[in-house]
């Protein structure tokens, strides 16, 4: 725990979980820095990026569709292409899908309701930097709060992702009608990950569950390793 790696938490107009994410990352040993969407570069020594939850640009057109044009996204693409870890939570997941950094798309929940509760999740893969502190098959309890979180991929894309081990996290109970109950997906290189549940709201058992800390602390581990490797 010698160094506190710098993790950028992006702030779009309409983000609302940016501060919670920054607080949680700080509590888990990172130096979290809020970065406004209009910035063209990430702060020096940024080792990882988090795209937080919220309603960026008012969810106009489709959730996440406009945010992909934010100037800061070019810097995020660069960091991702260089192997840097990028985590999208809820609206951040929607943005990464619309930006083409993650496969599939998030649609209106099957039952049209806004789902806001703790859900049980099953970790399918522990071979990503985000799930490195979990075991395959491990159950986590983390809250969701979304109206458009039903992940969709057509059959051929789904099978391709399944075969490549990119379906990292599933709901262990019925949640929103996601294809294959998928709750979180990573890219082919496994350094970009998006999920609908909010790990930043589950880092202290006092608030119901501390399971989110397993995912965020693993991200902090990866950011620290990257910082040391680049130093």
């Amino acid at each position: 725990m010698s160094i506190r790696p710098r993790i950028a938490v992006l702030v779009f107009p309409g983000s609302n979980d940016d501060r919670d994410a920054a607080w949680a990352l700080g509590a888990l040993g990172a130096e979290a820095q809020l970065v406004w969407h209009a910035e063209e570069a990430l702060p020096r020594d940024t080792a990882a990026v988090v795209l937080p939850g919220g309603f960026s640009y008012g969810d106009y057109l489709r959730c996440g569709a406009i945010a992909r044009f934010a100037p800061v996204l070019d810097a995020v693409r660069e960091l991702a292409a260089a192997g840097g870890p990028v985590l999208g939570i809820c609206n951040g997941f929607q943005i990464l899908c619309e930006a083409g950094l993650l496969p599939g798309v998030l649609r209106r929940n099957r039952d049209l309701d806004f789902v806001c509760r703790d859900v049980r999740l099953r970790v399918e893969r522990s071979d990503t930097v985000f799930t490195a502190r979990c075991e395959p098959g491990q159950e986590l309890t983390i809250p969701v709060k979304h109206g458009e979180g039903s992940w969709y991929a057509d059959e051929s894309l789904y099978e391709e992702l399944e075969a490549a081990g990119q379906l990292v996290l599933r709901y262990a109970e019925d949640c929103n009608g996601s294809v294959g109950d998928v709750a979180g997906v990573c890219n082919e290189e496994r350094n970009v990950f998006g999920l609908m549940p909010h790990p930043e709201h589950a880092v202290d058992p006092l608030l119901g569950s501390g399971d989110g800390a397993l995912l965020l602390a693993a991200l902090v581990d990866a950011a620290r390793e990257r910082t040391l490797a680049l130093a």
């Binding site: 057109l61 489709r62 569709a65 619309e98 599939g104 798309v105 649609r107 209106r108 929940n109 099957r110 039952d111 049209l112 969709y152 991929a153 057509d154 894309l157 009608g177």
Partner: protein, 80 residues
């Protein structure tokens, strides 16, 4: 040139919004089926020809106005 884009949920894709609208219409006593809810975008496009306008809007649809994974689109150019 006036161009209208119609974006629809792709055929075969579940459209819960359409189902909810259909259910509501039925409650009002209308005998309807197959309701699908999409989106309409009106544009003023500066292009030398109808053909060129259509080609431009097609690119707009592919890059932003529709998500090809789940939506289909139709382009109508108003004759002037």
């Amino acid at each position: 040139m006036r161009v209208t884009v119609l974006v629809r949920p792709k055929q075969g894709i579940l459209d819960p919004q359409g189902e909810a609208v259909q259910g509501s219409l039925r409650k009002l006593g209308f005998a309807v089926g197959g309701a699908r809810v999409g989106r309409l975008v009106d544009l003023e496009v500066d292009a030398p020809s109808t053909h060129e306008a259509k080609a431009q809007v097609e690119r707009m649809c592919q890059e932003l106005l529709a998500n090809p994974l789940i939506e289909s689109f139709e382009i109508e150019v108003a004759e002037t």
